[in-house]
């Protein structure tokens, strides 16, 4: 079940950043620091507007930007939630798994007594699937 949480957010008028940008930055920071986690529900547009005493359209604009960037996702009829990030692993964990995969591959290639240049060119070809996907 999604959890509804208060959004502890401050905005300041008289700042060079427009209020909608302050909301975007604030929510992103909370997600980055895991103060907000995937599945957490955000306040309604009207609710956050009232909390901050600002125009609801300003909140709607910030939420639209956060949704477009993939930080939030809307669930039909339920509201807005912190999205599951596409890259779920930490950088360290990602590197560790990559090392593991390379090491396994090298050990296999070594056992086949396959020339490294040919192994590399075949690997290069195989990896082109990925570059197509991310292009």
């Amino acid at each position: 079940m999604p959890r509804t949480r208060g959004l502890m957010l401050q905005i300041a008028t008289g700042d060079a950043r427009p209020i909608s940008k302050q909301i975007v930055d604030g929510v992103r920071m909370k997600i980055a620091t895991a103060e907000l986690v995937p599945g957490d529900q955000l306040p309604s547009v009207r609710g956050l507007a009232q909390q901050l005493t600002i125009n609801p359209n300003t909140v709607a604009k910030a939420y639209a930007e956060l949704t477009a960037e993939g930080w939030l996702e809307s669930r039909q009829g339920l509201g807005l939630f912190v999205a599951t990030p596409r890259q779920r692993l930490s950088d360290g964990e990602r590197d560790r798994r990559m090392d593991e995969a390379i090491s396994a591959f090298v050990h296999e290639v070594a056992a086949l007594d396959y020339p490294p240049e040919r192994a590399l060119s075949r690997l290069d070809r195989a990896l082109q699937v990925l570059s197509r996907k991310t292009a």
Partner: protein, 303 residues
């Protein structure tokens, strides 16, 4: 129908007081929906504009339409569709709150009691109190409640929160932004308080000397203005040669420029003028509007 897309539409609207032009061939079209803030220096023509729009004052020339009607030929039913709140919150001081309410209820066929109750609930206003006994903030709240209860399609507010304390001001803004009665109407709001405009306005309209100087979302306007700090060895370039100049100041030997519509090319201009270092930063809405309005003021030569 072009007429009904705009709640306010003026064409070449001019109002002359003797030799002075309060409105100078003003072309202004305010779209239906949203909250529009009008700002301008004193004497920019805001009050004259409102007086003409509400039919209290005839134009010298040009035309003004409000809710699609000629502002000089408003019928009582047209007026019922327009709510007006002025800064003085002028209400008959000798009457009791209940009597004023009854009078307004009688006068407006679309009277919405729920809207009245919702707004007045923010204030400690008792029906038996005389209007003259209410504080300024209570009178403002009462006035807004009366106006929203008439079910207007257009709400015109002239400096409505002037002189209100922080609590009354917040209650006023909340009623304006979140009450169900205000939701369905277009709000045209005149204020000098940028802090409030930043919170409230979808659209920013700047009047200058009776003409329209700018209209866009507040953020967009902010984005047009940048603040540059340059270390100039001498007096710096003559102000007339500085592109987009709004304001220049010399502080602690550094030149501060507030400029309009300048991109990174402005750094090149400053370097070409002899700047040793150049920095730039965005500005707040308050600073941007202030600089914009100050542009035409006489500026002493930097010491």
């Amino acid at each position: 129908m072009a007429d009904t897309d705009y709640v306010i539409e003026t064409r070449a609207l001019t109002r002359r007081y003797g030799d002075k032009l309060a409105l100078d061939t003003l072309d202004l079209a305010i779209a239906a929906g949203h909250i529009h803030a009008i700002v301008g220096a004193n004497g920019a023509g805001k009050s004259t504009l409102f007086r003409i729009l509400l039919g209290f004052l005839p134009p010298s020339s040009g035309s003004a339409r409000i809710l699609g009607r000629d502002s000089q030929r408003l019928t009582p039913s047209d007026r019922g569709r327009i709510g007006f709140v002025n800064e003085e919150h002028t209400l008959p001081s000798w009457m009791r709150v209940s009597a004023v309410t009854a009078m307004q209820r009688h006068q407006y066929p679309r009277w919405n009691q729920a809207a009245f109750d919702e707004v007045i609930g923010h204030y400690h206003v008792l029906p038996q109190q005389k209007v003259g006994q209410l504080s300024r903030g209570e009178r403002a709240g009462f006035n807004l409640a009366l106006t929203l209860a008439q079910g207007p399609e257009l709400l015109v507010l002239d400096e409505p929160t002037l002189g209100l304390d922080v609590v009354a001001k917040r209650a006023f803004l909340e009623s304006l932004m979140y009450s169900s009665a205000a939701e369905s109407c277009t709000v045209v709001y005149c204020s000098h308080q940028m802090e409030e405009i930043e919170r409230v306005a979808d659209n920013l309209i700047i009047l200058e000397r009776g003409r329209l100087a700018h209209m866009s979302a507040p953020d967009e306007f902010c984005g047009r203005v940048t603040h540059w700090i340059a270390d100039m060895p001498f007096a710096g370039p003559p102000p007339a040669s500085v592109p987009g100049l709004l304001e220049v100041q010399r502080i602690d030997g550094l030149h501060h420029y507030l400029v309009l519509d300048q991109d990174e090319g402005f750094a090149g201009f400053l370097r070409g003028a002899g700047a040793r270092t150049v920095q730039s930063m965005p500005v707040s809405l308050d600073r941007a509007v202030n600089g914009f309005l100050a542009k035409n003021h006489a500026m002493p030569v930097a010491a």
